[in-house]
C-alpha cells in the first residue's frame, strides 16, 4: 500500500474501540443525568418573571432576599449576576400574582432596602409561551437534523448520512448532559448555541467525508479503515486550526461578552470541543461499522469525471 506523504501519521481509527467506550460512557452519564436530574430550564421555557437590578455599590444578597421573601414573593430566587453590584431575581410563574404589577412591586421592595437601585432588565414569559418554546425548540432540532441527513445522503451516501447524524446526536446529548450535570442555566440562547454546534460539528464531519470520498476514488484495493485513517490524518491540521480559531473568538465572547452571553458562549465552547472529538472518533467509525465500501461511492460521479475508474 503506497500513499502520499501526510503531515500526521496517527492511527486514529485504531483507537476507535477506546473512543467508542469513552463516548458510550459519556452518553450513558448524560442520558442518566438528563433523565434523573433534567435541565435547569430558564424562564424562557418554564415561564415566570426575571428581574435584573443594578446597584451603585456592592449589595448584600441576604438583604435583598429578605425584602422579597418577607413579601408576597415567597419563592423568589436571588443571586449575583456578574458582579456584587448586580442581582438577578427569579420569580416562578405560579404565585397567584398579576404579572403587570410584579415588576413595579419588586422595584418598590428593592428601593426599600435603602440603596440606590436601577432596573436593568425585566423579562416575563407566560406559561403557554414557555411550553410552546419547548415544543418548537425540540422540533427545530429534529427538523435541522432531518434536513442535514437528507442533504448528506444526497451528496454522499446513506451510510455517511447516518454516521454524520450519529455524531451530531452524540454532540447534542453530551452538551446537554454537561449542562444537566453542572446545573448551568438552559435558556433560549443555549438552544441557539446548540443548533450552531450542530452546524459546526457537521462542518468538521463533512470536510473529513469529502476527503474520504476523494480517497476512495484515488486508492483502489485499500481497506476502508485505512482510507478513513489517511483522510482523517490529511484533514487533521485543518481540524485543529479551525477549532483553535473558533475557540479563540468564543473565549473572547466568554470573557468580554458580558453575563448575558455567558451560557451561550459556554454551550458553544463545550459543543466545539465535543464536535471536534466526534468528527474524529464518532462519525467515521460509525460509517465504517455500517459497512461502507468503495463501491458505495462509485455511482456518485459528480466530480469524479477525471478519475480513472476504467480498467
Amino acid at each position: 500500500m503506497e500513499m502520499q506523504e501526510t503531515r500526521f501519521n496517527l492511527d486514529i481509527m485504531g483507537k476507535r474501540k477506546m473512543a467508542a467506550m469513552l463516548s458510550g460512557l459519556m452518553l450513558i452519564l448524560s442520558i442518566a443525568s438528563l433523565a434523573f436530574q433534567g435541565l435547569s430550564l430558564g424562564i424562557d421555557f418554564t415561564g415566570g418573571t426575571l428581574v435584573e437590578a443594578g446597584y451603585s455599590e456592592a449589595v448584600d444578597l441576604g438583604k435583598v432576599r429578605d425584602a422579597l421573601v418577607n413579601s408576597e414573593f415567597k419563592n423568589a430566587v436571588v443571586q449575583y449576576f456578574g458582579s456584587a453590584n448586580d442581582v438577578l431575581i427569579r420569580i416562578p410563574p405560579s404565585e397567584g400574582l398579576n404579572n403587570a404589577d410584579i415588576s413595579s412591586r419588586i422595584i418598590d421592595l428593592l428601593a426599600g432596602t435603602g440603596q440606590n437601585v436601577e432596573m436593568r432588565r425585566i423579562e416575563f414569559v407566560g406559561p403557554q409561551v414557555g411550553a410552546e418554546l419547548k415544543n418548537d425548540g425540540g422540533l427545530a432540532m429534529i427538523a435541522a437534523l432531518a434536513m442535514i441527513m437528507l442533504y448528506v445522503a444526497m451528496r454522499f451516501q446513506m451510510r455517511f448520512s447516518v454516521g454524520a447524524i450519529a455524531a451530531l446526536v452524540h454532540d447534542v446529548l453530551i452538551t446537554l448532559g454537561i449542562f444537566s450535570v453542572t446545573h448551568f442555566d438552559f435558556d433560549l440562547t443555549v438552544l441557539a448555541a446548540l443548533l450552531a454546534v450542530i452546524g459546526y460539528s457537521l462542518n468538521d464531519t463533512i470536510v473529513v467525508f469529502d476527503r474520504v470520498r476523494e480517497n476512495f476514488h484515488k486508492f483502489r484495493d485499500v481497506p476502508p479503515v485505512d482510507v478513513f485513517n489517511v483522510s482523517l490524518n490529511q484533514t487533521l491540521s485543518r481540524t485543529i486550526m479551525t477549532s483553535l480559531t473558533t475557540l479563540l473568538v468564543l473565549a473572547a465572547l466568554f470573557v468580554f461578552g458580558g453575563e448575558i452571553i455567558h451560557s451561550f458562549a459556554t454551550a458553544l465552547i463545550i459543543g466545539v470541543l465535543v464536535g471536534t472529538y466526534s468528527s474524529l472518533f464518532v462519525a467515521s467509525p460509525v460509517t465504517i461499522a455500517l459497512g461502507i465500501s468503495r463501491e458505495d461511492l462509485m455511482p456518485v460521479q459528480k466530480e469524479g469525471a477525471e478519475i480513472d475508474n476504467m480498467p
Binding site: 502520499q4 506523504e5 501526510t6 503531515r7 435584573e52 410563574p93 405560579s94 404565585e95 397567584g96 400574582l97 398579576n98 404579572n99 403587570a100 415588576s103 413595579s104 432596573m119 436593568r120 432588565r121 425585566i122 416575563f124 407566560g126 406559561p127 409561551v129 427545530a140 435541522a144 442535514i148 442533504y151 451528496r155 433560549l188 440562547t189 441557539a192 443548533l195 450552531a196 450542530i198 452546524g199 459546526y200 457537521l202 462542518n203 463533512i206 469529502d210 476523494e214 491540521s237 485543518r238 486550526m241 479551525t242 483553535l244 480559531t245 473558533t246 475557540l247 473568538v249 468564543l250 473565549a251 473572547a252 465572547l253 470573557v255 468580554f256 461578552g257 458580558g258 452571553i261 451561550f264
Partner: protein, 619 residues
C-alpha cells in the same frame, strides 16, 4: 497561470465598494433628537418647524439642526440632557395636537443618505426598551359575534312575527333558539336560511319534545371574525402606541392570534403596560327605573335587566339592551366640566352612532342614562397546584345622569374621579374599543444602561476575537495569513453593510453570530491553505499547488457551508426574536465569507504570485 480576468477584479472591487458605502453610515453614530409628529388633525409644516425653533431659542436651548421628513420633524441636540429639557419646552409650545418623542436620529451625512444608506437597526436589547407579546382572546371575539347575531335574530323574528320562546348561547357553541311549536320552528328555519347567510342551521336532537334550532356561524365566518378581531386589535394598538409618543415602534402580527409590540427607548414600562394591556370600552345603557334595586340584589333580577355596581359600590339596575357601544366613538377629549368644575370627557360619535344616540335619547328624555366602563384584566393564580389564568372583567357604572335633551354627535361624560382618570379614559376611548380582549403573555424590558453595556461588551468581544484570529493567522500562514486577514476584515464590512441594507434588527445574539462567523470564516481559508501545503509536500510546483489548492478545496467548502446554512435557516424559521437575530447574522456571514474567503483571497494571491515563476511559497 493563476491570473484573474479583468472583469473579476472589477466585480470584486464593485462589491467591496458597495459594501464600504453601505457600511459607512455606522461610523457616524447617532444624535439625541426629538421627533415631532402630528397626533390628529394637525400637520407638520415649516410653520411647526418655526414654532419649535422659536420656542427653543426663547428657552435658551441650543440645537444642532432641524429637518422635516416623512411627516415628522426631527430636532437634533448635542447631548441627552438638552434633549430632555427641550422635550418639555416643545411639548408646552405645541400643545396636545402633536406627539413629541425622544429618539436617536442617525447622523448620516446627506450625500450618504441620498444613496439610501442607513446605519444598522439595533434591537431592543442593545438600545433599551420594551417588548411585549400579546394574545388576542379569540373565544371572546366569537362570543361577541354570537351576541350580535342573537340580538339581530330577535329583532328579525319579531319583525316577521315568528313566535320564539328564547334565544340563548348553546353549550356546544352557537345559538339555541326555542320555539312555541314546530310550525314556528319551520318558518324560523326559513328566515335564518334566507336572511342570515353567515349562519348554519341544524335541528338538534334533544330529549325534550320542544321545537328547537341551533344556529352556528359558518367556518369561514368564524375565521373571518378572528382575522378581523386581530386586525382591529393591531390597528388599535398602533393608535395607542402613537398616543404614547414612541419613535420607531414595531407592531407586528405573529401567528394567527398574536401581536408583537416593541417600544424602543420606553422607560416608564408601567405606563406602557397600562395603556397597552388594559382594554377598555364604554357601553351606554338606560337605567331600569321600573323595578326595585333591592329585589334584584336579593336575587330577583328582572328578565330585561342586569345588576351593576356604581363607583361608590351602590348597586344599580340597568336595561340589558345596549344603546350604544364604544365602537361608535371616534374621538374623546378630556377637559373640565363648565357646570361644576369637575373633570369630564367629551365624546364624539360617528354618523351611525350619532343617529342611534339621537333616536334613543330623544325617545327617553327625562330618563337616566348610565355609562358603563368595561375593563379586561388577566390574572394568573394557583388552584390545587395548577396554574389557572383568570380573565377578569371589571364593569363599573361611572356615571348615570338624566338625559336633559336629545343628544347628538357630541356629548359630555362627567362623574370621573380625577383629571388624570379623565385623561386616561379619553386616551383609551380615542384609541378605539378593542374587538376582543388582548393580553400580555410575554414581556421583555431592557433598561437603557444595560442596552449600552450590551453594545459595548458585544463590540469589545467582536474586536478582541477578531484581533486574536488575525494574529494567529498571520503567524501560522505568513503571507497567506495576511491575505486571509484582509478577507476577514472585508467579511466584517460586508456583514455590516448587508445588515444596514436589509435593516435587519441587530441583537446581542446577532453580535454573537458575527463573532462565530469570524471564527468560522477563516475555515474556508484554512482548508485552502492546508490543501496548498499538501500539494507542495507532494512535490508540486508552487503555482500548480495554488491552483489545485483552490480547486480541490472548493467542493468541501461548499458542502460545509451549505450544511451550516441549512442549520441557520431552520433556526430562522423556528426561532423567535433573539434566535432569529442570531440566524440572520450567521446566514449573512456564511454567504459573505464564501465570497471573501474564496474570491477575494484568490484575487489577492493571483495579484501577488500570479504569472511569474516561483521557487518557494511563504505558507
Amino acid at each position: 497561470m493563476n491570473r484573474y480576468s479583468l472583469w473579476k477584479y472589477i466585480l470584486i472591487l464593485f462589491l467591496i465598494g458597495m459594501g464600504a458605502l453601505f457600511a459607512l453610515p455606522n461610523i457616524y453614530g447617532k444624535d439625541p433628537a426629538l421627533q415631532v409628529s402630528a397626533a390628529r388633525s394637525a400637520e407638520i409644516s415649516e410653520l411647526t418647524e418655526f414654532q419649535v425653533t422659536n420656542a427653543l431659542e426663547e428657552a435658551g436651548i441650543t440645537y444642532k439642526s432641524t429637518s422635516v421628513a416623512n411627516e415628522s420633524l426631527i430636532v437634533r441636540f448635542n447631548d441627552e440632557d438638552t434633549q430632555l429639557k427641550a422635550q418639555d419646552v416643545v411639548k408646552k409650545s405645541l400643545g396636545n395636537n402633536y406627539v413629541v418623542a425622544i429618539n436617536l436620529a442617525p447622523a448620516t451625512p446627506d450625500w450618504l443618505a441620498k444613496f439610501g444608506a442607513e446605519p444598522m437597526f439595533l434591537g431592543l436589547d442593545l438600545r433599551g426598551g420594551v417588548h411585549f407579546l400579546m394574545e388576542v382572546d379569540m373565544e371572546a371575539a366569537i362570543a361577541k359575534a354570537n351576541e350580535a347575531y342573537m340580538s339581530d335574530l330577535r329583532s328579525k323574528m319579531r319583525e316577521n312575527k315568528i313566535r320564539y320562546k328564547t334565544i340563548t348561547l348553546n353549550n356546544d357553541g352557537g345559538l339555541l333558539i326555542r320555539f312555541k311549536n314546530d310550525g314556528e320552528r319551520e318558518s324560523g328555519e326559513d328566515l335564518i336560511n334566507k336572511s342570515f347567510p353567515d349562519l348554519d342551521v341544524t335541528n338538534p336532537e334533544s330529549n325534550s319534545d320542544e321545537a328547537q334550532l341551533v344556529a352556528t356561524m359558518k367556518e369561514q365566518v368564524v375565521l373571518d371574525t378572528q382575522k378581523l378581531a386581530l386586525q382591529q386589535n393591531i390597528t388599535t394598538l398602533r393608535k395607542r402606541v402613537n398616543e404614547l409618543g414612541v419613535a420607531e415602534p414595531v407592531i407586528q402580527q405573529q401567528g394567527l392570534n398574536r401581536v408583537v409590540v416593541q417600544l424602543p427607548g420606553v422607560q416608564d414600562t408601567a405606563k406602557a403596560k397600562n395603556i397597552l394591556g388594559a382594554t377598555a370600552t364604554l357601553e351606554f345603557r338606560l337605567v331600569d327605573e321600573d323595578h326595585d334595586v333591592q329585589d334584584a340584589v336579593d336575587g330577583r333580577v328582572p328578565a330585561g335587566s342586569r345588576l351593576y355596581k356604581e363607583r361608590s359600590g351602590f348597586p344599580i339596575l340597568l336595561q340589558k339592551q345596549v344603546m350604544l357601544t364604544g365602537d361608535s366613538i371616534i374621538d374623546a377629549a378630556s377637559g373640565i366640566d363648565s357646570m361644576n368644575g369637575g373633570p369630564d370627557v367629551t365624546i364624539t360619535l360617528d354618523g351611525r352612532g350619532a343617529k342611534r344616540m339621537s333616536k334613543f335619547s330623544g325617545d327617553n328624555v327625562g330618563k337616566r342614562l348610565a355609562v358603563v366602563f368595561i375593563e379586561n384584566k388577566i390574572e394568573t393564580t394557583v388552584e390545587n397546584g395548577e396554574k389557572v389564568q383568570k380573565k377578569e372583567i371589571i364593569e363599573e357604572v361611572i356615571n348615570a345622569a338624566v338625559i336633559q335633551e336629545q343628544l347628538g354627535k357630541r356629548f359630555h361624560i362627567t362623574g370621573l374621579e380625577s383629571t388624570k382618570e379623565a385623561r386616561t379614559l379619553a386616551l383609551l376611548l380615542r384609541a378605539g374599543a378593542l374587538a376582543a380582549p388582548i393580553y400580555i403573555i410575554e414581556e421583555r424590558t431592557v433598561g437603557p444602561s444595560l442596552g449600552q453595556d450590551n453594545i459595548a461588551k458585544g463590540f469589545d468581544s467582536v474586536k478582541i476575537g477578531f484581533l486574536l484570529v488575525l494574529v494567529f493567522m498571520a503567524i501560522y500562514y505568513k503571507v497567506f495569513g495576511l491575505i486571509a486577514n484582509v478577507a476577514l476584515a472585508l467579511n466584517l464590512v460586508l456583514i455590516v453593510a448587508m445588515l444596514s441594507l436589509l435593516q435587519a434588527t441587530l441583537t446581542l445574539p446577532g453580535i454573537a453570530g458575527i463573532v462565530l462567523t469570524v471564527g468560522m470564516a477563516v475555515d474556508a481559508n484554512v482548508l485552502i491553505f492546508e490543501r496548498i501545503r499538501e500539494e507542495i509536500r507532494n512535490g508540486n510546483s508552487p503555482q500548480a499547488s495554488i491552483h489545485a489548492g483552490y480547486e480541490k478545496a472548493f467542493s468541501t467548502i461548499a458542502d460545509a457551508n451549505i450544511t451550516t446554512l441549512i442549520a441557520a435557516l431552520v433556526l430562522f424559521s423556528f426561532g423567535t426574536g433573539p434566535i432569529k437575530g442570531f440566524a440572520v447574522t450567521l446566514s449573512l456571514g456564511i454567504i459573505s465569507s464564501m465570497f471573501t474567503a474564496i474570491m477575494v483571497t484568490r484575487s489577492l494571491v493571483n495579484l501577488i504570485y500570479g504569472g511569474r515563476r516561483l521557487e518557494k511559497l511563504k505558507i
